[in-house]
């Protein structure tokens, strides 16, 4: 590629940040000082193009050190990776956590999404801005769900530097959030992950049994609590045997789409094209969802082991773990777990002496809900804008880097461990006929004990809410997050299974159960959902790009209206929503109207 670069030069800090990731430049073609050797230096073709996937880590490296992406820094990174600057600019401007304009080194992300909004996020935001005032050196940004719903309202401070520092304040007060932003190092430590598991210690837990019991930093502790028995069992069964067990267990994807995991693995394993990849989707961004965070923070080795099993079964030797950018603690725990596993021969060339090679690379998201869509996630890893691809071809055939790929959500993967240790029949005996196994539910909002609950499929919504201590005057329950649907307080006998929620005309989605009492103004909530989708639409297809804007405008118009005064706009919402559902490329646009529609139809919002 004959690339064109501007005259902007990186600062020493920017250069150092990139070099820390990529090593020093080899030639003036890559930004080093000029020398005679440059005349005999070339890097082109595949060798140059193959580094494209380092673009996102490179952008992170600069943003972590400096806090924003200058022209000089972006150009330098492009030189190093042989990426056209226009494309890198397109990628950098795609992600909400990056800025191509100067901003203070510290950014305080204050969650204004559903659970936090109901817990007073807008007052919190206003208070923080008033306290910090202008010129405080902190940029306050209103953020979509930070995945800390059990401790709403939440704020996340990120202070650029070497190293970058982060601090979470949740439940946040103006004082705590300002402290976290101004001095992240001295902010109080976050409560341990187990605090998000009200059932902790119960014998009934399968997926969460180690959370709070093991030391998440200790591989020995993990092994002492049954860790790596599933992988040993996998090696006994062989790849086909593992896939048979997973298929027989009836496990289906927990990310929301409920696709049979065994079928996905089988389809990937049988592809003649190689290499195969395993991708773990830990870009948990559905508002109200925080189960994967708790799993990754509380039991990180379980995910490493489960990914290894998935790779072994599908014939992959390289895995990618895509963690959302708003989860610094989960990221740290997983980085440590990977290093430990590598050091102990549980990742690498010869796992457990079985002659099987596998390793995992972590990739960090940068603030884009759409990257949780499986093909958008591939593009994000590959260094392109996180826009969904059109399917077919499906990932099992052409996924990451165009190769057969199995992509699973964190919770789905972690389910594989009990399937192998207890055997498929015992696992399938949990839950109902068509929804087998245990399921994690993210309960937040108007309940006494918000957190992650693990129940066998088939428990009713009422039972779950009772367990969580639902408060008086329940007005509505949101199932499945912003892409899910509302149900009424008199529908609490809905069984929490895929088929049960489908029969009731709603969805289980990713397991979000958010309770709202009658003090929460419903139209405001719906407007926030519409804002969320407008902000998070990637912009690729017209129904979603413009449709989400038109829906937000209509909901804005009727926020104070009811009855006949709202009827025209509701009709408009329905028409636009129908086209979005029918004609959008991906699940984001197809489901963006679900929650609002359910609020109109089931809750009688605007009546």
């Amino acid at each position: 590629m004959d690339l064109h670069f501007g005259d902007s030069k990186p600062t020493d800090d920017e250069r150092a940040a990139v070099d820390a990731l990529l090593g020093p430049p080899e030639s003036s073609w890559e930004g080093a000082d000029r020398s005679d050797a440059d005349l005999r230096w070339a890097r082109g073709g595949r060798e140059a193009r193959d580094r494209r996937d380092l673009l996102l880590p490179g952008l992170h490296a600069i943003n972590d050190r400096i806090g924003w992406l200058s022209e000089g820094a972006l150009d330098y990174l492009c030189r190093r990776l042989t990426v056209p600057p226009s494309e890198a600019y397109g990628v950098a401007t795609f992600y909400a956590m990056f800025s191509v304009k100067p901003r203070p080194a510290t950014v305080l992300h204050v969650c204004t999404d559903l659970a936090c909004a109901a817990a007073g996020a807008s007052e919190l935001c206003a208070g923080i801005e008033a306290r910090l005032g202008l010129g405080s050196g902190v940029s306050v940004e209103r953020s979509p769900c930070l995945g800390l719903c059990e401790r709403a309202p939440a704020a996340l401070a990120i202070k650029a530097g070497d190293p970058v520092r982060t601090a979470v304040s949740a439940p946040a007060t103006v004082h705590d959030a300002v402290l976290a932003a101004s001095a992240p190092d001295s902010a109080p430590e976050e409560p341990p992950a187990v605090m998000a598991v009200p059932q902790a210690g119960s014998d009934s837990l399968v997926l969460l049994r180690r959370v709070g019991v093991v030391d998440p930093s200790s591989l020995d502790d993990y092994r002492a609590h049954g860790g790596y028995t599933a992988l040993r069992r996998a090696f006994e069964l062989g790849p086909a045997g593992v896939i048979r067990e997973v298929t027989d267990s009836g496990l289906v994807g927990r990310g929301g789409a409920a696709f049979p995991t065994g079928r996905k693995w089988q389809a990937t394993a049988s592809q003649p094209d190689h290499p195969h990849y395993v991708v773990c989707n830990a870009d948990e961004s559905e508002p109200g969802t925080f189960k994967d965070r708790v799993l990754m923070e509380g039991d990180p080795y379980a995910l490493v082991e489960a990914m290894t099993i998935a790779a072994y079964a599908t014939g992959a030797h390289q895995g990618y773990l895509y963690v959302r950018g708003e989860y610094p603690r989960a990221l740290g725990r997983l980085e440590q777990a990977l290093a430990q596993a590598r050091a102990r021969g549980l990742l690498g060339e010869d796992i457990l002496g079985q002659g099987y090679a596998f390793d995992i690379e972590i990739r960090r998201g940068a603030g884009a809900y759409i990257c949780g869509e499986e093909t958008a996630l591939f593009n994000s890893i590959e260094g392109y804008r996180g826009e969904p691809r059109s399917k077919p071809p499906f990932p099992v055939e052409k996924g990451l880097f165009g190769k057969p790929t199995v992509e699973n959500n964190v919770e789905t993967l972690v389910n594989v461990l009990p399937i192998l240790t207890m055997g498929a029949p015992a696992y399938a005996a949990i839950g109902t006929d068509r929804s087998t196994g245990p399921k994690l539910f993210c309960v937040s909002g108007s309940v006494e004990r918000p957190g992650i609950y693990e129940l066998p499929f088939g428990a009713t919504l009422g039972e779950l809410l009772e367990l969580a201590g639902v408060r008086e005057r329940l007005r509505a329950v949101l199932l499945g997050g912003a892409a899910g649907g509302f149900v009424r307080p008199d529908e609490l006998d809905i069984p929490l299974t895929f088929e049960g929620t489908r029969e009731a005309g709603t969805t289980l989605g990713s397991g979000v159960v958010m309770a709202f009492d009658d003090t929460v103004p419903l139209p405001r909530l719906l407007l926030r959902i519409a804002e969320f989708f407008r902000d998070e639409s990637c912009g690729q297809c017209v129904p979603c790009r413009v449709g989400t804007v038109r829906q937000e405008e209509a909901l804005h118009r009727i926020v104070e209206r009811t009855g006949a005064a709202a009827a025209d706009d509701i009709a408009l919402l329905r028409e636009v929503g129908r086209a979005m559902r029918d004609a959008s490329i991906c699940g984001l646009g197809q489901t963006a109207w679900n929650a609002v529609e359910s609020a109109i139809d089931r809750l009688g919002a605007y009546e």
Partner: protein, 286 residues
Amino acid sequence: MTVVPLGIPRRLLEFTIDGEPVRGAEGSTILDACRAAGKDIPTLCEGDTLRPKNACRVCVVEVEGSRTLVPACSRKAEPGMEVRTDTERARHSRKIVLELLASSVDLSTTPQVAGWIKEYEAKPDRFGPDAARLNEEPKVDNELYVRDYDKCILCYKCVDACGDQWQNSFAISVAGRGFDARIAVEHDAPLTDSACVYCGNCIEVCPTGALSFKSEFDMRAAGTWDESAQTETTTVCAYCGVGCNLTLHVQDNEIVKVTSPHDNPVTHGNLCIKGRFGYQHVQNRD
């Protein structure tokens, strides 16, 4: 002489469109089959020289068994497929897509769109006077062509033509996200500071007139642009030995625009800066 590769003979697939049995070559799209069968399906982001991007979603059709509508431009035909092009559901989505575009983008120079808006009874005004629009000013930063992104439907065709599908200059990309996404060079700089080589292949593929020759832009502004008064003459570029076909668009004995036939085996519609813009010497009359 151009050798036209015949390729491996392709199997014919049998399927139905609107109940009528049709046959299409393996690998061809639903749109190919629809066009062969004489069905008129509107398209905007589809380009005859580019891989389908299926971003505009105006070509959606119903396929039996599919949960959502499918884009005819990119979905490959499969044996036994039952395609329906004119159902209420497909028409509804097309209508909404046209309304969404027409209410946010200036479609005044988009060929055929006025007819589709009428045909599908789209009413872009229904979103009210406050409906968000792109609100972009034309970017006039060089003497050769103008980027008027108020007319841009974000079809990605210019990006694909500038990138690895044709020109490999990579001067432009989509920047930003959602409704704020725009076609831009790095740092949203003027074109003159970018990797642009002024081949104009982006203008060739632009379906809305967002990208246009400066000559066309100026004449439209002056109200003198009159396509009915133009002649199109295809000739051979005189600059080098490649022998690209040029189509000269002439109005009042002045060349106002240069294109190249998309079915030309040498150019596929693409030219370089000389063929595209270097025509002034032809009309030096002094």
